[in-house]
Amino acid sequence: MTEIIVIGAGPAGVAAAVTAAEAGARVTLIDENSLPGGQYFKQAALPAPASLPPTLAENFRQGQALLAGLSHKNITFRGNTLVWNVTPDRTVSLYGPAGPETLAAAQLIIAAGAYERVMPFPGWTLPGVMTVGGAQLLLKGQRLLAGQRILLAGTGPLLQVAGVQLLEAGAEIVAIAELQPLGSIIARSPRFLGHRDKVKLALNNARRLKRAGVPVKFGYAIVRATGENEVSGAVIARVDAAGHPRPGPESALAVDTVCLNFGFAPDTRLTQLAGCKHHFAERFGGWAAITDDNMETSQPGIFAVGEVRGIGGVEAALPEGRLAGQVAARKSGYRTDESAGPTRRAARRARALVGQLNTVFAVKPGLMTLAQDDTLICRCEEISAGQLRAAIREGITTLNNLKPWTRAGMGRCQGRICGPILAHLLAAETGLEAQSAGQFTVRPPVKPVPLSTLLPQNNNDEVAHDK
């Protein structure tokens, strides 16, 4: 039995592991990536060049400071290791460099992070159209600039943050298409009172983009991407308060890269498998694991921290990780001196802000009309909006029913990309709330693993579950 297992070596998981280890507990920290850091502190296996663009250099420095804690003798880091199943009794199934393995944990901390939300439009599957995070991961993890003439489209402050990073790296930002009209952001700005530091950062980004001559178009959406084998153009248009494109002129832009982000969705696959309870709210970015003040889920001995509890950003992830690390160490019989009060307050404060951002920069239902009947929604199985609309007209109202009927969500990504979109499509077609679409039921493995891992006597064919 391992004292404490932490799944996910992003800011939340690393903070949990270091805190528990410093209290004296033995911790196994597992991540599918070869290096710790997670998404925000993505590390490169390449040596850092003598000069990095300033914001990347700062991110790198902060990440290094956090990750230095992992050298503690009580921490075993296992990279390149996928956790493909978790059970309510805290049995963890791994697939790593040495093959399959099963571990049992006295305390289990799930810090699996989030993934990006995107919305579909004609041309969104063309190579060169990618997520904002994907372009950031190329910068941080590969020291690679994805394109030269870039359109950023979607909603939320990340568009401008990434715009500055890409600009510093040498790209031309052709435009930023922000879904929310400026007026509605300003009208709701009192929600950000008390977070002056963050507002200052945002205004600073806006000023830098302005100085560089980047047009930031509020109340706009990308309606089309064009190109033969890769993207060479994009069309943006004004949208109304509900997200429907307005009749009137469109702007055609010559671009070689389009980066999309419509917020994030918590990755609850592991907490679902562990039988933890979840709840839905726009401020969480969708379905999120429920915990108490100690970060413990409805399953005793299983903790959830960071994005899994709802999108809260890096500044919620760090204190929540520390809290879970403390409590798990205490439950394992170790003393911790750190008082939980200030840590808890820091986490709440960060969540309060990001929760507001998630509602101010929410996806709008009218965007679903951008997907024409021949636009793909499920990229893996190549299922179009028209096929899905026809199925919904037959009376389907939930994700779990849509899947066997249409195959949407059955492919390799297991609904990670199309799941949130399908929920919007169901809502748009049925008039029901997005949450009534439910979540896809999760079955192991959470990502394809060699079949031999599941059925020892079989060959090495890959299996995507649920086929």
Partner: protein, 92 residues
Amino acid sequence: MTATRLGHPRPEPSFTIMVNGRPVEAWPGESIAAVLLAAGRRVFRQTAGHAPRGFFCGMGICFDCLITLNGVPNVRSCVTPAAPDCVVEAPE
């Protein structure tokens, strides 16, 4: 579109991987996706419906960036490091 390596030329020695029988330059620590993008290749595969696909999420969840590596199909190039013995098949 060719992606740009920051801080180039990189100080450490490069190596080559084979892409459709032709050598492509790579640096230690780069993913196969990064090597393909830096070589100006954006189409990584064709779908069953004959549509081109490439790099999309960059974090191993979308499975759009699949390539055939050393004869093994459906390898995610964005999370797979390039190594000197890599033989990659991707459509022309």
